[in-house]
């Protein structure tokens, strides 16, 4: 059965999205690389990563965009549509880091006749910001 989607009456500025947390294992990095046909050695070859002056296996920055999209879609429901995302990397994260994704409604725009919600999303490793995004998501109509 179809899960209900949020509508504009159920959303307000400052509303928070549920947090999600994950410790990224080496297996997670390999799984993401394989799923995206990306076999770059930075993500599984420790000696190679060290040769690039990195302290560990690097988490591919694009995974954070996928996490932001996952959280936005799971929050807004199946009839929502992500129109855009401005993803910025703020610091590097590595295998075995425990990352927490957060999100909040920044603004709502109904000027075009449909409701577009602008989310501010962030991923932290403890108190360090790893990545953020401004995500515009079109909400299901009433």
């Amino acid at each position: 059965m179809l899960r209900p989607s949020l509508n504009s009456k159920q959303i307000h500025v400052g509303q928070t999205l549920p947090e999600s947390a994950q410790t990224y294992t080496e297996a997670d990095l390999v799984a993401y690389g394989a799923a995206t046909w990306d076999w770059h050695r930075l993500h599984y070859d420790q000696a190679y990563a060290q040769s690039k002056n990195l302290p560990g296996l690097l988490i591919d920055g694009q995974v954070f965009g996928a996490v932001f999209a996952r959280e936005a879609m799971n929050w807004a429901g199946p009839r929502a549509f992500i129109q855009s995302m401005k993803l910025k990397m703020k610091s590097m994260a590595f295998a075995r880091d425990h990352l927490v994704a957060k999100g909040m409604v920044n603004s709502l725009d109904e000027s075009t006749g449909v409701c577009v919600v602008h989310l501010k999303q962030e991923i932290f490793c403890e108190n360090r910001l790893v990545a953020d995004a401004l995500t515009a998501i079109r909400i299901a109509e009433l």
């Binding site: 799984a31 995206t36 990306d38 002056n53 302290p55 996928a66 996490v67 549509f81 855009s84 993803l87």
Partner: protein, 166 residues
């Protein structure tokens, strides 16, 4: 300022095109769901996706911009098969600074997505830890079987001089 050479500047405007070799596919979408630990049925259950109003199983929003499925080449020395300009920036490592995604419509498992890359700009800027770093901006345009654009990805990479962490 010595990273941005005349040879690099001459590459601005260069394009590369990768025609789709097959549909994105339900398998690629399910694999991505497993890797992301995402059990949203929009990506796993075609009947559910149709009930939500789509014409079939859809892909996760950013998958089309993240996958190198368009590529068909042996891995390079770094193990990578996706698009690269193979810029010669000696003594630097390359890291991702950000991606600006624009999505026109949900991508279906049945879509055949071709990709066009364009090298838009290169700018050398001072680095916070001294010296300079080179910002390279490229645009990937994702095009379906009807020659319609389904997504645009403006990607910024930065070449940073390697420094010791001693």
């Amino acid at each position: 300022m010595d990273l941005l050479t005349p040879e690099l500047l001459a590459l601005i405007g260069k394009e590369a095109y990768y025609p789709a070799r097959e549909p994105l596919s339900e398998a690629s979408i399910r694999y991505f769901s497993l890797a992301l630990r995402d059990d949203n049925p929009l990506y796993l259950d075609e009947a559910y996706a149709r009930e939500a109003g789509y014409n079939g199983l859809i892909a996760q929003p950013t998958l089309v911009c993240e996958t190198c499925q368009y590529a068909h080449a042996a891995p390079d020395a770094d193990g990578y098969i996706g698009h690269e300009w193979h810029l010669n920036v000696p003594g630097c490592r390359m890291i991702r600074a950000g991606n600006d995604y624009t999505f026109m419509r949900p991508v279906l498992a049945s879509d055949r997505i071709s990709v066009k890359w364009t090298l838009e700009s290169m700018v050398e800027k001072p680095a916070s830890r001294g010296g300079t770093q080179l910002f390279v901006q490229s645009v990937a345009t994702y095009i379906d079987q009807a020659h319609e654009i389904v997504a645009i990805n403006t990607e910024t990479l930065v070449f940073q001089p390697l420094v010791s962490h001693a």
